[in-house]
């Protein structure tokens, strides 16, 4: 049986399927832009419903937290070869400046350490360039084990 880790295309499909089925992510229109074995680039489109300051039109910082949590969690799943689920343990965000009104925000999440029980991820949010970030984040995820029957997203079959 092929594993997710040895088949990048299947792993990507698994991540995409997981990411795109998250109801609140759908509500915000979150999309995967690209992925690598341990990282993910996702996009939050600008919409009037996610504004945090009606006078400036800036996106609510909480909507950025949703983008960061979902992108970082999916990067952790990618780093685990798509064979395990994770639960957010903690997450910290530094809000460096407001996101420009009218522009989508990108989140680049990179998993930099997979330990026995915990996965460590950093994430950076920007509109145009990661060199000019809106927010930076560090988060940790608990490994919560394999996908249960009925929880498989269908794209990947992992080895036991």
């Amino acid at each position: 049986m092929s594993t997710a880790a040895t088949d990048p295309a299947a792993l990507g499909e698994h991540a995409r399927s997981f990411f795109e089925r998250i109801p609140h992510g759908q509500t915000l229109g979150l999309e995967i832009v690209s992925f690598a074995p341990r990282s993910l680039l996702a996009r939050l489109p600008y919409r009037p419903e996610i504004v945090g300051n009606p006078q400036t039109g800036h996106i609510h910082s909480g909507a950025l937290t949703v983008l960061i949590d979902q992108t970082s969690g999916t990067a952790a799943i990618l780093a685990l070869g798509g064979k395990e689920q994770v639960a957010t343990l903690d997450l910290r965000v530094d809000h460096l400046r407001p996101a420009q009104a009218g522009k989508p925000v990108y989140a680049q999440a990179d998993c930099y350490r997979v330990a026995r029980d915990v996965v460590f991820v950093r994430c950076i949010c920007y509109e145009d360039s990661p060199d000019d970030p809106v927010a930076t984040s560090m988060s940790t995820f608990m490994r919560t084990g394999g996908w249960q029957a009925g929880q498989s997203t269908g794209g990947v079959r992992g080895e036991a």
Partner: protein
């Protein structure tokens, strides 16, 4: 007083909580609401909505929604306390998740731990069922903006 400070004063006088809760589009999208407790403290709530789910299989609330609700509760608390004449700006936000958020109302209470001239440190607890059943704890810093003279033109 500026427009926002006037609105907060009016909302406080008329106990028209919904008006303040619906001021911000994203807070309205997820459904943040609040009211005064008998002791005068504020209790924030996020009634269950299917669109706030993060894990459809458990099911569990989206961790980002829990965070956004807690952050917005702190913002409303600072406005309510009239510590800022503009929307407080978040500087940093840190959350610890203790339990999955079940598909039911999530509550939050905020305490302003330290209030300086420019910065406020706020701790927020979010719980379901009873206050002991904590779903997440968070701490955050906000930059405040205060006008020196309440009567000065905005």
């Amino acid at each position: 007083m500026n427009e926002l400070a006037e609105l907060v004063a009016r909302v406080r006088a008329e106990k028209d909580y919904e008006r303040l809760a619906e001021l911000v589009p994203y807070a309205k999208l997820i459904g943040v609401s609040f009211g005064e407790q008998p002791d005068g403290s504020l209790l924030f709530s996020l009634p269950y909505r299917p669109s706030n789910i993060g894990n459809a299989l458990l099911p569990a609330l989206h961790g980002g929604v829990i965070a956004a609700f807690m952050e917005h509760s702190a913002t409303l608390q600072l406005l309510w306390n009239m510590e800022s004449t503009k929307l407080p700006k978040i500087i940093d936000f840190s959350i610890d998740y203790l339990r999955p958020g079940r598909p039911e109302t999530l509550y939050a209470d905020c305490s302003v731990v330290r209030q300086g001239q420019r910065v406020a440190n706020v701790a927020v607890n979010a719980w379901q069922g009873s206050p002991e059943r904590v779903v997440a704890t968070a701490r955050m810093h906000f930059l405040l903006s205060r006008q020196a003279q309440p009567q000065s033109a905005d």
